[in-house]
Symmetry: C2
Subunit: 324 residues, 2 copies
């Protein structure tokens, strides 16, 4: 069996040899820019590892792996327009570099191209794989819509937030894992379990992202700490704190980010002081561990010998930056 690094190398090789059309240049070069701009290749790696765990042929699974990565990058192109995000992976976003129209249309072409890649799976499995891919893709749109809705929504519950990140982030991991398992000829029941493994892992991953934004180091996060607080974002931390805090503290949570009398550092310190009063850090940590442990125990329920799931276990640990 290939380990995670070997799988990743195989995938990068495959990606590098995909030949997009050359013209119209302004349609296709943003796609190359976006696809070669790094990223952790989480989704294709997961797909390939799931396929391999069931003894599937990883070579045959490469087009589907490229399809989920292409789809993921398409969502980034369009999300960056909607969020006015000018930087992506330390470089100008497609939206910032080429403008909005190019980001819309190149994004559209990426989404279509992801189906072009997907249809290279063995023909006998195409229909089943599309029945996973397409609803998953729709759910990602739904998640993005809820995320935008929440910005203009006075009250968002923790449950609604969890559902949103499940749609926006986790289902793409879960669907990728499931497609990999289908390509490895796993049974329907096994596919369901590996789907749930990746779903729980995705939630743990997203919650950790929220936690690091306020409590991580700049090194771990790759950008300045406190961005979510300064934007007044309704993260898991914020919503959990809102649900526990007194009215007085809730006002601090609601208004600090737009209080012009404070410096950024003061704003961050002030909100985190409220978080600390309600032990939010540990509450989130606990939720992350719960999801992460669930993911790992789901691996244990698969109808596979332990050594077959080892790479999926290591993948989960790497994703969460855990050594245990």
């Amino acid at each position: 069996m290939k380990n995670n690094d070997e799988i990743l190398a195989l995938f990068e090789n495959y990606l590098a040899q995909i030949k997009l059309p050359e013209e119209p240049q302004i349609l296709y070069s943003p796609i190359i820019y976006s696809m070669s701009g790094g990223g952790k290749r989480i989704r294709p790696t997961l797909l390939l590892l799931a396929c391999e765990a069931y003894g599937g042929n990883v070579q045959d699974a490469l087009p589907a792996a490229a399809a989920v990565e292409m789809f993921h990058n398409f969502t980034l192109l369009h999300d960056d327009i909607m969020d006015n995000a000018e930087v992506r992976r330390g470089k100008p976003s497609v939206y910032a570099k080429w403008g909005e129209n190019v980001a819309i249309l190149s994004g559209d072409a990426m989404m279509i191209y992801s189906y072009h890649l997907l249809q290279r799976v063995p023909e006998s499995k195409l229909s089943r794989i599309m029945e996973i891919f397409t609803p998953m893709a729709l759910q990602v749109c739904e998640g993005q819509q809820y995320d935008m809705d929440f910005e203009n929504c006075a009250k968002v519950s923790v449950v609604e937030y969890m559902r949103m990140i499940e749609l926006k982030t986790s289902v793409l991991l879960a669907g990728s894992a499931m497609i990999g398992a289908v390509l490895g000829d796993a049974s329907v029941e096994e596919c369901r379990k590996i789907y749930r493994y990746a779903l729980e892992l995705g939630l743990a991953f997203q919650l950790q992202d929220d936690l690091l934004d306020s409590y991580g180091t700049e090194e771990e996060l790759g950008k300045k700490i406190g961005g979510d607080i300064l934007e007044g974002k309704k993260t898991y931390l914020m919503l959990q704190a809102m649900s526990r805090a007194t009215e007085e503290d809730r006002n601090i949570l609601r208004n600090t980010y737009r209080d012009n009398s404070l410096t950024d550092d003061e704003k961050i310190a002030r909100v985190k002081a409220v978080y600390d009063r309600y032990d939010i850090y540990h509450s989130v940590e606990q939720q992350i561990s719960l999801r992460f442990d669930r993911a790992l125990s789901l691996l244990g329920t698969l109808d596979l010998p332990a050594e077959r799931t080892e790479h999926l276990r290591v993948f989960a640990q790497n994703l969460m930056g855990r050594k245990k």
Copy 2:
């Protein structure tokens, strides 16, 4: 055999019973708005007629017909953002009504949903139909990109323009006809011919659209005459005239639309006077007839008795508003 009106009624019924998810409401209601906003249903009708001509089961072809219509409407949502178009079919565009972010994301969901519909075709044909649909969808994006490129391009040739409208408009008609033929179990050779029939028809249709914009009546066009001239658009008429005119006339063609000393009617009259000097009307008419006649003679080469192609012939005549 069902005639064109019966086919259309069948399609509208099918469309009406498609149940989109209800939530998130802001993602799905623009889709319903767009799909129920009328339109001539050209592409699905063509698909169904092609299927029927080969004796295929029109009921089985309805999902694919809905897929091409959904895809077409998706392109309108995104094109309207790129073109800042506030009106579509006499009503506010999705972009104007809900804003840009909604038009982007609902458009994305429509595109994905078109694959959701497409995958309801008989499983044995899914792979072959996707191999028509996906490249066609990419070509439509390419056409839109060329269209935008041409706006900033000092010199566009008539040949480049024809290639652009082929990609932007005709391939979607051609692909629809071909998918219908595949669903009717037509041979590869027959599929190619019917593809070319629809491609030529699409070109005739688009050229006629250009012609009517300057020489039609407001009733035929559904909007004010001369819009293209007032926007300084590089239409077939304009490019043909540019290729024939003297330098002095070329300057009139280039600059009239932005000459603030003229009223709209004066601008239109001035440009049309140049067109008339080079007999552009008849030149375009000739090109339209050429394409239209080619489409009809391709029908004659199909391996089908004449009565089987009759509805496709009537379809072409109706599309062009011709009685002959």
